[in-house]
Every structure is written in C-alpha cells, then in structure tokens.
Symmetry: C2
Subunit: 396 residues, 2 copies
Amino acid sequence: MERNLQDVVVLDLTKVLAGPYCGMLLSDMGAKVIKIEVPERGDDSRAYGPFQNGESIYYAGLNRGKLGMTLNLKTKEGQEIFKDLVKKADIVIENYRPGTMEKFDLGYDKLKEINPKIIYGSISGYGHTGPYSQRAGYDIVGQAMGGLMSTTGWADSKPTRTGTPMGDVLGGLNLAIGVLSALHRQRMTGKGEKVDVALVDSVVSAMQNINMIYTSEGRIPERIGNRYESTYPYDSFEASDGDVIIAAANDGLYCRFCKLIGREDLITDQRFATIQGRLDNNVALKEEIEKWSVNHTIDEISDLLNENGIPSCPINTVDRIVKDKQIAGARNMFPKQEHPVAGEIVLTNNAIKYTETTSEPHKPAPLLGEHNDYIFTELLGYTDEDVNTFKEKKVI
Amino acid sequence: MERNLQDVVVLDLTKVLAGPYCGMLLSDMGAKVIKIEVPERGDDSRAYGPFQNGESIYYAGLNRGKLGMTLNLKTKEGQEIFKDLVKKADIVIENYRPGTMEKFDLGYDKLKEINPKIIYGSISGYGHTGPYSQRAGYDIVGQAMGGLMSTTGWADSKPTRTGTPMGDVLGGLNLAIGVLSALHRQRMTGKGEKVDVALVDSVVSAMQNINMIYTSEGRIPERIGNRYESTYPYDSFEASDGDVIIAAANDGLYCRFCKLIGREDLITDQRFATIQGRLDNNVALKEEIEKWSVNHTIDEISDLLNENGIPSCPINTVDRIVKDKQIAGARNMFPKQEHPVAGEIVLTNNAIKYTETTSEPHKPAPLLGEHNDYIFTELLGYTDEDVNTFKEKKVI
C-alpha cells in the first residue's frame, strides 16, 4: 500500500530516543530512512534492555523500518562518504552536542553547499543558540528545566517526572513537524534550511496552558494531583476496587452526572453552581462524589457514565492496555513483527491512522551495518574493493 | 520573512486544546488558518480563564495568527458555505465526536467529492474506529487509558496526571505530523486523505519505551518517582536548598561524576560497577550521592556538573522559566503580543526554530467573527446583502 513519504530520503544520525523516535515516524510513513551508526558499537541503545535473544528491544522498536549502515564520521573518508549521501537525501537528522557536526566539517553551512535542498534537523537539550547551548541535556533535564516536573505530582509530594521519557518524545514529535514543514517548502521552492529543536523548548511549549497562569495572573502553578486548573469535577475518584476517572468538565455534563448519581442537590448547591465554584470547592465536591463512587466498581462507574455520554475510564496499567479491544484491537497499537534475531517482537505503533495510505510499521530494525552492501555499492556506486578498504580502515 | 506553509490553507473547526494546538503550529509556520466558530458563543475556551480585559488568554494563546469567522454548521446555508470553503482549502481539522461531521453531511466522503485534494484531519478521544469510538474523551481520559497515569508518581502515591494536559498536546502534535505528511503526498500526487488521531493512541505511542517492559519482559511497569527504568544515577537529589537533577547516565559520565565529588570508591564498588548494578542498587547509591549533595546548593551543583559536561539542572518553577536567559532570552519562548482587547499578552512560543524561514507567532487571535467580511466577500464572493441575510438567519 502507498505511504505518504515514499519519495523522501532521510539520513538518520541520531541515537537513543528523541531523534530515533522522529526517524521512526518518518519511516512508518514511508520515507527511506538510512540509520548511520558508528562501526562496531552502533547506537548506544543497542546496549539497552529489554533484550530478546540478545537483541535490544529498545533499539528494535525505535529503529524499525530503517536501513542500517555503519560510518565513522571522525575519519576523512567517512566524512566524504557522508557528503556523497547528502547529495541523494532530502533530510538529515542528528542529535549530537551542538558544534559536533561542525567539528566533522559536516555542519549545515557545509551540507547546504553540497545540496542546497537539504533539510538539516537537529535535536539537542537546550538548542543550538544561547548561553546553555553547550550543556548536555537528557530527557529528565528537559522535564525539570521546562517546568513539567514542578507542576506534576501531589500537593504534598516532591516534583515528579513522568513515567515515560516525555521530554524526548515531545522533542521527537516537534522535530518531525519541523522537518515535514520544511519539506513542503523544499518541494515548492527547491530550498532547504536548518531546523533547531530543543528538548527544553519542547517541554516549555507543551506547558502553554500552565505557563499562562503565571504570565497572565502572576500565580506560580503548583502540584495539584490529578485535578485540572481549568475545570472540576475532572479528577480521579475512589471506587470500591481502586480509582476511576470522571471528567464532567462543563455545566451540561455536570448536571447530567449529578442526576445520574441521584444527587440533584449538588446542582443547586451554591458552592457548586459554576465551574469556578466547583474549582474553588473541589475538596468538598470530591467528598460528595466519593460518597457514591466508593460503593461501585471501576467498571460499573465507567460503563454507566459512558452510556450516558459522560467521560469516565479506568486508570489502565500496561498489561490491560496491550489486551484492550479498542487500543490493541481496533486501533492496532501493538503490532507484532518478526525480527531476524530477536524472533517475534511486539512494537508500539504510531498514533497516525490514514484512510488512503498506510503508516503501519513495516520492516524490522536493521542489524548493525546490515545494508552496507546495498548502500555502498548500489546507492553510492563504490566497488567491492572500495568497501573492503573502508572496512580495513575502520571507516565502516 | 518567509514561512514554510504560506501557500497552505487550513479550515480549523476544532475547539479547546488538542485541535487548536495543531492549528496554532500550522499558523506559526505560515499557513492561512481559518478558525470557524459557532455564532454568538464561539469556541468553548473563550469562556476559560485566565482573562485580561475580559478576553480569554487560554483562547488567545492557542488561536494566535488565525483568521476568525462564524458559521452555524447545523444550518443548510452554513453547510453550503463550508463546502465553498473546502474548495479553496488544503486541510480541514476537526475534533467533533466521531459521526458529527457526517450528521452535518460534511464527513470526509462528502468533502472529497467536493475537493479530491482535501486532507481531513480529525482528533478524538478514542479514534474514529472501534468499540469505544463513540465515547467522549478528554485529556485526562487519554492519560489514564493510555497508561501515563499508572506509571507517573511515587511508589507510595496514587497514579498521577501530568501538570499540563499532555494527552491533548500529544494529540495535537501527532495531528500536525499527520496532516503535514499527507500534505506532502497531496502536492506530489494531487490526492487527499483522512487522518484519524486519537488522544489515547497518542499517549500509548509516547509510552513506547515503557510498554516494551511488559511486552518483552512481562513485568508491569510501576510508579518509581523520578528515576528512570533504563539507567542510574538519573534522578532528583537533595541539595541544601531543594532538589537538583543529576543525570550521569552512562559509564563515562558516572566515573567523571564520582571523581568530581571525591568518591572514586563508588566507581570500584561492586554494587555500582555497571548500569544494571546501579539500577538494582539505586536506593543505596542515592544515599551515597546525597551525602555530598546536601552540603551544596542547587546552583553550585548544577554549575559544577555542567562545567564538567555532566547533565544537571534545577527543577524550575514557571516564574523562573519565564525569566531564564536561555529559554526566555536566547530561545524567545515567551514573546509578547499586542492584542486589540486584552492589551499586551505573553505567549508561549512553539519549539521549532528555523534558519531560513520564521515560525514565530505573528498576528493575534481573532475576535469572534472578526474576519467574516473578508472571508465572505473577498474570499467567497458573497455580496453585502448575502452577508446580512446570513446574519439575520443566524447562519453566521
């Protein structure tokens, strides 16, 4: 089946999570993504668990569908080979410390001389400009510097990191948007450009609706557990067998909810008459709602509310999600894939579903240097002898 | 200055956060985004605080740069006007409950008859397919159903929502990627398609590196506070004046860190000799590190470690972020904008920085129906009399 980006060539120099997540999305959507790794060792994440038959599932998920080649960019020959590749590519993505590509003489200014259409996408902790640009940044740095940690958690808890490396994921998504938007201009005008995405900025941008509380009201947003700054009831509530989400976020839903639980009095109660009132009196309202919810199971509550159009759901653990008839079933979020070494593995799918094209994962992640022969001889036109020399010199 | 998407026309039917965030990004990158709102009331978020001079800052941030028009899609005339607009557009985005656009006779199948190039981007709680597709989903539902809440928080805390509506932001980012990827194919082939993004799927995709712990090892990921499943030390640590982030994520950084704090013994200590050992013994290692960190301030630690190439930073609150010389200064993440009613407002910028084009926010968000005259007379060619009739009939 057709894929949206099947005429697009991407050179993926990134490693670990943020950059590879971007390359993974482009690959799922059909781009020819050539993953370029250091000889012998490869992407650091090849050493990260979990493992199946010695193969990293961390690597296998984030690099599915890519072609794999090795190249030592510290050698002169490696740099020349990379420049040859740039002539045939639309997009380069990299997540080195700012300045590293310039040390290889492969910075954007050099690459655009070789191919004026090239789109150069970088992802880094703090970005390629400014006083902190040389600092190393990991996901947790993005979450902490960008304000996500200080606002996540309970009023009596310390600042809290999210359960997944959200700074990296946000960075990867923003880089994908950045290069796709630049690709549009490239195909319209023939011109390339550099895209500079920082993990910290990506978190800050995701905090927009929280930042405005300070920039407009002057109040510093704090940790408030599971409730939301903008409306109530919109929180977790105690059920007889755990916690359940109820999100009766507007007046209509709130009235319907109160009737459904036989508490019309909560509609007319002056404390709860408006969204602002419900926010101001959220502790009292939660107590009233839990008088009802503790007597019902999570599933009873979720089923009843959803039948009546009120958003409600369980707080899923991963074991439930991978079996869920909507998420795993209808939405195919956990496709299986046969990997030549790892055997059958379970991938987490991307979230973008099309009607006329497919964005489902296709080929497995490459073994280290798996496509060297194809890339060097077929794509770049080197002889077998050249390739052997490159191997001897540890260029590839 | 040039913008990447300046030849792209987007009809934005979305409201509140997830969809508008997508439209906001497209507008920042230069697309002509026409925000279509119900007459009289407009987007629900016009009623959400904070307010300046009675104008919603919530709305003003997420809808900056868009043109604003009113249109009642429940009327026959409104539907016909919308079809006229579709003939002139590249992309439609909407976040109605699945099936609503079909009730208006404006579903994708109808719109592609009118304009085969149209890209139809939808965002919903659970997606347009499957047994839960008719359920309403808010951000908190995405976070709970998708597994983010069950894995965020402390071992002794309840499942925890992130401080920002992360499910909505992830959905908006995925929709932007989805429509931009489809736009590439549209310009190459002249064909459009429908993009179907769910909040729940967007969270599930962001959980990839956590999901694999269960899908590969069979272990259900739990809440583990600020540390990370994949490496250690990578956590918050107690300083003399609060908590500080230290991320010595690989062997090289760990050795350098131990030397820097005068604890070479921690390098040779068998418990901490490998990443897996440091993960297994994270409680003991945290204790050892905090013997040092409690005697220094957050800034002392962050400065010392960054000078030595080890990622470290404070846990910023929003008041610090908006003044930070990197984030607010060099990266311009909080540009000011003059709004005709609200006065001077502070926006949160997007995270995508270009060298050859700009993606900085430009015009303010529209007042309700502000560009009706331009759109109806100049763009669609209606007469002033037509417009008056539409107003009388409450079509606009």
